[in-house]
């Protein structure tokens, strides 16, 4: 049969020569290799001090976006929860009262919006399902916690702060990649 690669090696079990039986030349060769590696540069990224540069399509911790007037985009339609293959998202819808127009963009909003970060597989389907451009995955890393229930992120963590807006423009283009 014709071989697919040129890496094929014929294995033989011929008896070892005297030099091979001594083992010492092979051992010295091996020790020379390890010695060379001792002076090689390592590729370790020391995480908290330095961070890996993420790809523009990196899918990390979620954010619930506000619009340009600072109103929450989410209308609690539940499409993200339906789309979620890991069933990590739950929400409770609420009705916008008079005087709350500055807080929520539409009449219906999410009173409670929770993502279980232990269930989430960071597939990005919630973001794809969202008709209101409300939920996005960002390049932020989900921090580690000591308690399991601390991984259930509510709106206090997910909604972007007014004075510290999170840039998701890189992700906004992923749906229509031909435009980039």
């Amino acid at each position: 049969m014709e071989s697919l690669t040129n890496r094929k090696k014929v294995v033989s079990d011929k008896p070892m020569t005297f030099m091979e039986k001594l083992y010492l030349p092979a051992i010295f060769k091996g020790m020379f290799i390890t010695l060379k590696h001792m002076f090689k540069k390592n590729n370790t990224i020391k995480y908290p001090e330095e961070q890996r540069v993420f790809a523009p399509v990196y899918r990390g911790m979620h954010v619930l976006k506000r619009d340009e007037h600072g109103r929450e985009n989410c209308t609690a339609c539940g499409l993200c929860a339906v789309a979620c293959p890991a069933e990590a998202i739950t929400m409770v819808a609420g009705e916008r009262q008079k005087g709350e127009e500055g807080l929520y963009r539409e009449e219906k909003y999410a009173e409670i919006y929770e993502i279980n970060m232990l269930r989430c597989i960071f597939c990005g389907l919630c973001e794809e399902a969202c008709p209101k451009e409300a939920v996005f995955l960002t390049d932020r890393i989900v921090p580690t916690e000591f308690e399991r229930n601390e991984f259930i992120y509510g709106k206090d963590v997910l909604v972007e702060p007014l004075n510290d807006r999170i840039d998701v423009t890189k992700r906004q283009h992923t749906g229509t990649r031909s435009e980039i």
Binding site: G30, T34, H37, M38, K41, N42, T44, K46
Partner: protein
């Protein structure tokens, strides 16, 4: 009894104890660093600058762990095992000459706790007891893996002690004395035994690797087959003592190899110094050699894969013992010719 001598020996013994433990502690750190460098990693670097507080952190961790004793284990033997391992590892350093005589407060102090005239036999005796720590520990754990580790340790010890002893006899023949001081004095300056006995050094070094249970001969603790070997059931500081004893033993056998083959505290050009300068320089020379040996031990560990057990036995009985016996015979004949005992 001279009280001054007593105090001097006591201080020396305590100093030696602290130094052995300190070097053993930092060997663990250095071993991890070296492993990291060989594997293109960084190694421990979080505890203190460059991670130099890592051994202390490890020690604290060991003490904080739950001290667990299996239900069916023999309680007293279970405690005795790591104790013996540590005790014998520390005992051997007593007869090692660390440098030439030093003069302090008008007293000439020998940098050796006990100048036994049978120093090398003492070391061999104590090292052989060392395996009892592993054997008793492995046996008392009442666990298959531990028992296998213990059995392997004892058979390995018996096999390699022979070749080691025979190659040591060669050195004793060359230097004409059993005391470690005699052996060191016979290698004055650059007159080291390694230049006369390279084969003997090789055999002795391989046996020393096996005696200290270092890779590639770490079959008693062989993780991939025996979980942790003899210390499978151990936890907390008992485990710590076992692991620590290995490093102390490595330090002492490095020191022993430096004495037997690399001239101990002798260094080239030592005749141009005298008094305390010579003493300090000789101690520095001795520790340099010892550290280089420790480095070699670690370098080998992170290069060579572990032996299979039948290969280990084959190497011990069929290769090293014949080589060392032939080497001893040839050395004996050469000595006899030089001394004029045999004439043609």
């Amino acid at each position: 009894m001279d009280t001054g001598l007593l105090i001097e020996k006591l201080i020396l013994a305590i100093l030696l104890f602290v130094v052995s433990l300190g070097i053993a502690a930092y060997s663990t750190y250095f071993e991890r660093k070296l492993a990291a460098w060989i594997q293109d990693r960084v190694g421990p670097d979080r505890a203190g600058p460059f991670g130099i507080l890592q051994p202390i952190a490890d020690g604290v961790k060991m003490f904080m762990k739950e001290d667990f004793t299996p239900t069916n284990a023999d309680r007293w033997l279970f405690i005795l095992g790591p104790g013996i391992a540590m005790f014998t590892a520390l005992m051997t350093s007593a007869v090692i000459p660390w440098g030439t005589d030093i003069t302090l407060f008008g007293r000439t102090i020998a940098l050796q706790v006990a100048d036994l005239n049978i120093g090398i036999l003492f070391i061999f005796g104590i090292i052989s007891i060392g395996v009892y720590g592993i054997m008793i520990g492995g046996w008392a754990s009442n666990n298959k893996y531990s028992r296998f580790g213990a059995i392997r340790a004892s058979s390995q010890m018996i096999s390699y002690e022979l070749a080691m002893g025979i190659s040591a006899i060669t050195i004793i023949m060359l230097s004409g004395g059993l005391g470690l001081n005699d052996i060191v004095k016979a290698q004055h300056g650059m007159n080291w035994n390694i230049f006369y006995q390279p084969v003997c050094f090789l055999v002795f070094f391989i046996c020393a690797l096996a005696e200290t249970n270092r890779a590639p001969f770490d079959l008693p603790e062989c993780e991939s087959e025996l979980i942790g070997g003899y210390h499978t059931e151990y936890s907390s500081m008992k485990l710590g003592l076992f692991l620590f004893a290995e490093y102390v033993a490595m330090f002492v056998s490095s020191a022993l190899i430096s004495i037997l083959f690399f001239g101990g505290y002798n260094f080239p050009g030592m005749d141009s110094f005298s008094g305390n300068t010579l003493a300090l320089l000789s101690v520095a020379a001795f520790f340099t050699k010892t550290f280089l040996m420790i480095f070699l031990f670690m370098w080998i560990r992170w290069t060579i894969p572990r032996f299979r057990f039948d290969q280990l036995m084959h190497l011990g009985w069929k290769v090293l013992i014949p080589i060392s016996i032939i080497n001893m015979l040839v050395t004996g004949i050469v000595i006899a010719f030089n001394e004029g005992w045999i004439k043609f």
